[in-house]
Symmetry: C2
Subunit: 111 residues, 2 copies
């Protein structure tokens, strides 16, 4: 494993070890599944929907300002909190239980 892969794996482990995190999915910008802690069927289905959502969100922020760029997309729902972090090459999707506030707070604080 080279340094980049190692850093990648460590980052994933760190996210997954956060309180209330129930799943982490990583896809590349073509929508191909890179890695996931969920089963393959759910991962592919979630990734497909998230890619569409992220594309729409990217379009929206560019509509606000053409030089603007989406950094994070978050969905709160009754039972789940979903965080989508689009990167240069990958999109990281984190599924979290709704009652665990710590991760969302730490993200809000780091904005």
């Amino acid at each position: 494993m080279n340094n980049v892969q190692q850093e990648f794996e460590e980052t994933l482990k760190r996210i997954q070890s956060q309180n209330g995190v129930v799943g982490v999915i990583v896809v590349n910008n073509n929508g191909d599944l890179i890695t996931s802690t969920l089963d393959n069927r759910s991962s592919v289905s979630h990734a497909e929907m998230i890619m569409k959502l992220a594309d729409n969100a990217k379009g929206f922020v560019r509509n606000l300002d053409p030089s603007n760029e989406l950094t994070v997309l978050r969905m709160g729902s009754k039972r789940r909190e979903v965080l989508v972090a689009p990167g240069k090459d990958f999109i990281i999707i984190v599924l979290q239980k709704q009652n665990h506030k710590s991760f969302m707070k730490s993200i809000a604080n780091s904005l």
Copy 2:
């Protein structure tokens, strides 16, 4: 003005008075513009994109769990933070400058 309208107007004023809030748009669930602090053209264009995004997000959280419901959608970008709060009858869209953390923090804390 009846009580409901008054409460509605007061809520909007309260949101708009938050640090860094640059615009508030309210649409009904058919996508019709109810009120906005932005010009009509921008409001209609933003509302249209947000309706599509919110529909996709609703679909996604229901895909996670059919009895689940979207409560909030947030987009962070380099220059703007966008909050979308879908209600029973209305969708409230709040546009905020990215550097103002207080509103996002207060929302994260209230989750």
